[in-house]
Every structure is written in structure tokens, then in C-alpha cells.
Symmetry: C2
Subunit: 324 residues, 2 copies
């Protein structure tokens, strides 16, 4: 149920209404409305209910959470809304998880322990909302001191800004990125063999057995996506890349990456793996990839789950020249 152009974590259900972030009176009034929706995070995991295999977000009302919102360790962020329909907020709390779970009337609630796995069980709408909420809450949790002067900072603008409490601080003069949430661009690429019928996949030591996926790496300062693709592929596999084509991108809230999905055409084929990062890299044929995606018996490798942009890039590639 993912459309070809849409990646998991990327659906925008809410209007962010960013113009309202500076309107404290509006935000305060919205906070108290009975139809306002609150999502609760503990340790950067949202409380979910798991009646079946899937997870769904537990939604709280102002009445239920208002005491928690008063606690000094709570961070509240405004997520948005849809015109006049309910506003959505998320908050993180460090209160005891067992006590928090008692606040919920839904069945089988929990704070999932493995975000990389458990956040992939939400539906598309909720995944999109969690992408924003978890990234911004993770930023609050890691950036509560001013990197410019070391003083504490405090949230502002509905949780989309933090300002330094040291009135002499440079970060208060003009606009500084230190005050805004961080988004880390990462290139992730399917490297295509010069013969057009094989692709390069690699595995990290931490991957499940036999799983191979696309190579990926952080974009560095002063670098384009295209050059980052060429550099990371060369570093990790020794393969040289020529043309690079952007396909689609995916927010990945672990904690706040933006995965930039590309096809990369190789101009060399010898593999020399960087063993610090990659355990093995291999060229797979189109047929091996098809067998793996469509779960033939004993495929040559196991593909990453459909919720990853790596999976979508691989699927897009096999659809490109084959008669499927």
C-alpha cells in the first residue's frame, strides 16, 4: 500500500501551520481544547497500542496529560493541524513508564524498545506524524545546551526553536542554525553495473543474516548529493561512479536523517570493501534481485523491508527494464 512515489515516514497528514508557532495565545488556547490530540513519548518512543500485529499511536486529551505538561522535564511540540480540525501536539516525558501506561485506556499499550523495527509497524499517516515528532523531540533531547557558549537553552515557538539563556550569547544576534532543529542529509544509492543488469549491494555487520542493502553515507559540508554519492561508493566499495540520478527522498527519524535516494551508474566493477563500515559488498543480477523481492525459495540475499527507501530503490530498478 505504498505508492511508487511515496516512501514510508513521508506522508504529510497535518498542515504544520508554522505561522502559528509564534502565536503563543493561539497555541495556549489550542492546547486546552478537548479535541486536541496529544502523543506521548518516553525515551523517544511513542506510546502505541498493539491490538494486532500493527502498532497504532495512543492519542491523549488535554485532561489526561495536563499534569504531565506542567513537569519541568516535559518538552511539548506543536505538530500542526488541518485548518479548523483538531490541533496535534507531541510531548516527551521522563516519568516512570509503568505509570504513564496506566493513563491509557487502550489495549496492549507499550513504548516500543527498538524504534528501527517497531516504528515501521505504523500506518502511513501515523508514520508521517511520528517522523516529525520523533526528530524534533530527539533534537530537544540532544541539544538542550547552547553549542556556542555552553549555557542552557529553552524551547520557543511551539518547540521548533531553542534560545540561549545567556543574554550575551552570539547565537542571539542575527539568525543562527544552533537555534533550530537539525536535519542530517544522507545519500543512499543503488549502484548499477555498467552492463545495466546487476546492482551493487552491501551488508554491515549489524544486519540480520543474509540481508544486503544499498550503500549510504552522510553528505559532508561543501558537497553536492551527486559528489557525496560518488565519494561514499568509492570509500565503501572501491567502485567508481559516473552519472547520478535523484529518485526520491525519505525522512528517517533515527534521529533526524533525510535519506536522499539515487541511482548511480558505475564506471568500474572491482570491489574493495572498507571493512570498518561494510562486511561484504557484491554485484547481484537482476534475476537474483527479483527472486529476493518476490520471496522465491532460497534467494541469493534478503532485501531490506518495504518501509525503507533502499527497498523502494531496488524495486524501482527491477521495474525499469524488466517485463514485470
Amino acid at each position: 500500500h505504498i505508492s511508487p512515489q511515496e516512501n514510508y515516514f513521508s506522508r504529510e497528514t497535518l498542515d504544520r501551520l508554522s505561522g502559528k508557532r509564534t502565536d503563543e495565545a493561539w497555541l495556549e488556547a489550542k492546547q486546552r481544547k478537548p479535541d486536541t490530540v496529544y502523543l506521548m513519548f518516553s525515551n523517544l518512543s511513542p506510546m502505541v497500542s498493539t491490538p494486532q500485529e500493527d502498532n497504532s499511536l495512543c492519542r491523549f486529551t488535554y485532561e489526561t496529560v495536563k499534569d504531565l505538561l506542567q513537569k519541568p522535564a516535559t518538552v511539548l511540540i506543536f505538530l500542526g493541524g488541518i485548518q479548523e480540525t483538531p490541533a496535534w501536539f507531541a510531548f516527551s516525558t521522563d516519568e516512570d513508564a509503568a505509570e504513564l501506561l496506566k493513563l491509557c485506556t487502550e489495549r496492549n499499550c507499550s513504548f516500543p524498545k527498538m524504534p528501527n523495527r517497531d516504528l515501521l509497524k505504523l500506518n502511513e499517516e501515523e508514520a508521517g506524524i511520528v517522523a516529525q515528532a520523533r526528530s524534533v523531540l530527539a533534537w530537544h533531547s540532544r541539544y538542550s545546551f547552547c553549542p556556542t557558549c555552553g549555557t542552557s537553552t529553552k524551547p520557543e515557538e511551539g518547540g521548533h526553536k531553542r534560545i540561549c539563556l545567556n543574554s550575551e550569547c552570539r547565537s542571539l544576534k542575527g539568525v543562527h542554525n544552533t537555534c533550530y532543529p537539525r536535519v542530517d542529509p544522507v545519500v543512499i544509492m543503488l549502484v548499477i553495473h555498467p552492463d545495466g543488469n546487476q546492482c551493487l549491494l552491501g551488508r554491515k555487520k549489524i544486519f540480520p543474516a543474509r540481508m544486503f542493502s544499498c550503500l549510504a553515507g552522510f553528505v559532508e559540508p561543501g558537497e553536492t548529493f551527486e559528489d557525496a554519492v560518488r565519494r561514499e561508493v568509492e570509500e565503501e566499495s572501491g567502485v567508481q561512479v559516473g552519472p547520478v540520478q535523484y529518485i526520491s527522498c525519505q525522512p528517517w527519524p533515527m534521529p533526524s536523517n533525510l535519506m536522499i535516494g539515487c541511482f548511480a551508474v558505475a564506471i568500474s566493477t572491482d570491489i574493495r570493501v572498507d571493512e570498518n563500515e561494510i562486511e561484504e559488498a557484491r554485484w547481484f543480477t537482476r534475476q537474483q534481485v527479483i527472486d529476493s523481492l518476490f520471496r522465491e525459495a532460497s534467494p541469493a540475499f534478503i532485501a531490506p523491508p518495504r518501509q525503507t527507501i533502499a527497498h523502494q530503490l531496488i524495486r524501482h530498478w527491477i521495474g525499469m527494464n524488466a517485463n514485470l
Copy 2:
């Protein structure tokens, strides 16, 4: 002299040799080599010599700068090299600028005061090198304290990492983005009228008189480029956008943005400007844009300089359906 696919600040002349960043012995040996090139920054501006209109980077040897490198406020970063040819480093110092200028034997040297203007006068190779150097040095200048605990941090890995000096800090357990340079993705888009023959340009109050350029805005956490384009255009101009197409990107080291250039097809035409950010936004016809780019007498507006991706997007658009 910019190829259609290449934006200013994006040429990669040096191999970053990122595998060498952790090799302290290699880095130290390279630092002392007589052919190693040092670039000197003061207040985030490189020393340049301006014999004519253009600027060129002043290059220093180890002998000339070794005393400066010992000063506690100096930050040194390794930029890369080309196989066995000279290694390149950049450093920032807060010593007196007049004294620093005396170290140089070239003519008409200075530390330009307006990076937004003066850094656009370098040649393509040097602009690409400055894009990396200035972004990373700006990060050191703004991020010298640990955002997680407020303690001081110190540079590592050839200046591509900072680690917290508090041995109990969470940022030392596992991998944390707080330790790595920040890159801020920004979408910048040419919005095309539903009729295909007009485009939307806006002006900020700080622009030179009559200049109009593409709309732009920071990508937020949990958002794709395409959704960021739609949100920012709606926020700044009230125009609704449908399809979005990525064209190319450009590092913009003021201090460390990555401009993601797109075409965006409008599905509405009424303009309602956000006056906090934009002074005016207008639809311009293709002919008005052509007149402006090719400097006809009294064009309807003045386009941004060729070194900006905005200029390149506009130029790309007029080349698309017109007989030029």
C-alpha cells in the same frame, strides 16, 4: 564558464581522503611537508589577493604558519589532496588581521568583509575548496560546546569531528550527530505558472533594488524536499504547488547550507505574500525573464548573480521551451 550541470561552490577539486582523518601520524607528517598548502581564515573569511577584479586564495606554507598553528585558539582542518600531490589544510585564527596580512607576500591581500558578495569572485576550483573549508570552520566556531551536556569539546579526525570532554556524556556512547559538522538542507524553487509561460519570483527587503529571486526555505525534520517546496511556497506566497522536480543542488557556505534546486508547478495563481519574509512576489513572463538575464535595457527586474543556483534555475527554465 559554469557548465549547465555545475553550480558555483560545487566543484570538487580535492579528494577528501576521509580515510586519512583518523590517521594522526599521516596527518602530522603531511602537515610538515613543504608542498602542503594552508589557507588562512579570520572571522570565517579566507585571506585572498585581489590583483584584479577577481579574488584568489592566498596559499601558505608550513614554515610561514607553524607558529600560528600552535596557538590555542587556532582550529585546523584537513581538506584533502589528490593522491600523492600536496595536501591541503585550512585554519582559522583570531590573531590580529593586520599582523596576519604581513605574513603574505602576494599583492593586495585582504580578508573580505562581505562573504555573500566577495566569496563569489573566486574561480570555480577555489570556490569549491572554500565551500568545504568555510562550512567546517563555521561549525567549529558555533559548536565548540557540547549541546548535550554543555561541556567544552575538542576537535578530532582532522577537524571533521568534535568530542565532548566530559567522559560521562551521553554523546560519547554510540554515534551522535552532535559530534559531526552540520549541513542544513534548504529547498529553492522556481515556481512555474499553470500556463507554463510565467514564473514566480519574490524579493526580500534586504535584496538590492529591483532584484527578484526564487523562493527558498529550510527543510524541516520529518519532511521530504517535495513537501518542503510545497509548504514554503504556500507560506511565502500563498500559491499552491503540485508536481516538484529536483534539478541540481549547491553547497552554500553561509554558513553551511545545501541548496536543493527544484522546479515546482503551480496549481493556483493568486499571490498572498508573507510580509515577515517577503516584500513582494510576482509572476514574470518568459520574455521578461529573458530580457533580465540577457541584460536588455530596463528589464522588469534584476536577476540574482550567475553564481547562485536561483540564477541557474531561471536560466534552465528559459532554455526549456524557448528557441534560444
